[in-house]
Amino acid sequence: MALNSQGRTILEVTHVAKSYGRQIVLKDVTFQIRSAEIVGIVGENGSGKSTLLKIIMGLLAPTAGEVTVRGSIGYCPQELQIFETLTVSENFYYFAEAYSQHQTIGYDKLKEVKESLLVRFRFQQYENTLAALLSEGTKRKLNLSIALLHSPDIFILDEPYSGFDWETYLHFWEYTKELRSQGKSILIVSHLVYDSSKIDKLFELTGGVLKCV
């Protein structure tokens, strides 16, 4: 594992706990992600991965602890969160508008990144196709590409490559390598990580407890 400990801390999760009544979902979860670091969190279904991600993203409030993010986030949810009755291009445009609200990235840059993502993940021929008419795999590419559109400091990817064919899977890892070389951090959350050699730090979430693997 190629651990880069020189970079600044981008994401800091400190003593985070979450419970619903008596049901404890997360217990004292603490970890950090530095710049140019690829971190993986694995865990079985129901281990608390999604809850942890929701807390990191601000979709859920933790019962205890805190999350500090120093930089912009690109988030790819596990579920397809795209507008089905808009075209691929319109989906990009809508999210580009969202990204442009708080960031200095301009439309020209966003357009350039969009073009490169369409080519990289090989779905440029569907640019003007309604998302509803795309195959499951292509929808997944769009779901992921939206998170990558604004060149954020950290990418938080929930089961990012489920539904990918082998070639796209390879392109995905190639891309993460490039992002890492640009100083970007990546957090991959999955029930299984096939290529642990590509990851700097790997954690396992079991019964709400996070352990370094």
Binding site: L60, L86, Y93, Y94, A98, Q101
Partner: protein, 254 residues
């Protein structure tokens, strides 16, 4: 910047609506079907009814068919607006939240949705009222259009509220169908009101003020100011409740 993001969201929401062909067809078919059923099942016999916003004692006498056409026109406008509002707020709740995570202001998103909903509500109000002209000409047509539009506004706001409370479509649809059927489709019929017990309950239901606006303007020369204001206030209270829940759901907890 804010105007641009509202405009973008308005354009995208409109595109989505226009691409939903089935919804567009139903938007035209439902009022037509309602009117056809009224024409086929009612006659021109004269019936007497009271209009609660005018007087509890004065009886008005008009053709059963005309009264039913105004009554069902309002029900159609309200029903369609509430379903559209439910769809707007509920269908893309997760994707809207992702937009907010990416930087969109929840206020910009909801303003754009409300703007589209307002346009559609006005269109429905006008369309349903114009179609009624095929059967009879009300005394104050413009006010009838306004009454139908306000019916759409009040029930549209109810649809928004239901959509923010319930995450799943089924519960939302049941809530809308239940209230719209009982209220706009039954209790607000002035003929029923004439003999109804506990009339106060009927006066507190969402379709009361818009229904009074349409009926009063269709058949009398009395002022509709009170029911007009009542409709706006009623709808706005529902809207505020919906917005406060929407705001809490969209808020980033970090």
């Amino acid at each position: 910047m804010r105007l641009r993001s509202i405009k973008t969201s308005w354009v995208m929401t409109t595109k989505e609506l226009l691409r939903n062909r089935v919804a567009l067809v139903l938007l035209i078919v439902i009022p037509t079907l309602f009117y056809v059923l009224i024409v086929l099942t009612t006659t021109d016999r004269i019936i007497a009814f009271k209009l609660a916003s005018i007087s509890e004692t004065t009886l008005f006498e008009v053709s059963e068919q005309k009264e039913s056409l105004v009554f069902i026109g309002l029900a159609a406008a309200g029903l369609i607006a509430s379903f559209l509002a439910l769809n707007f707020i509920q269908k893309h709740a997760d994707v809207d939240r992702r937009l907010v995570l990416c930087g969109y202001r929840p206020s910009d998103l909801i303003v754009a949705k409300l703007a589209v909903l307002l346009c559609v509500t006005i269109f429905i109000g006008c369309y349903v009222a114009v179609m009624m002209l095929l059967f009879f000409v009300p005394q104050h047509f413009v006010l009838v259009v306004l009454g139908f539009t306000l019916g759409g506004y009040v029930y549209g706001c109810y649809g928004l509220l239901v959509g923010t409370i319930f995450k799943r479509e089924l519960e939302g649809i049941l809530c809308i169908v239940l209230l719209a059927n009982i209220d706009a489709g039954w209790l607000q019929n002035p003929v029923y009101y004439l003999e109804a017990q506990n009339k106060m309950i009927i006066r507190f239901l969402p379709a009361y003020f818009p229904s009074q606006t349409s009926m009063v303007s269709a058949f009398t020369n009395h002022s509709t100011l009170n029911p007009l204001i009542g409709s706006l206030v009623y709808g706005s209270v529902l809207l505020l409740a919906a917005l406060s829940i929407y705001w809490r759901r969209m808020k980033i907890k970090r």
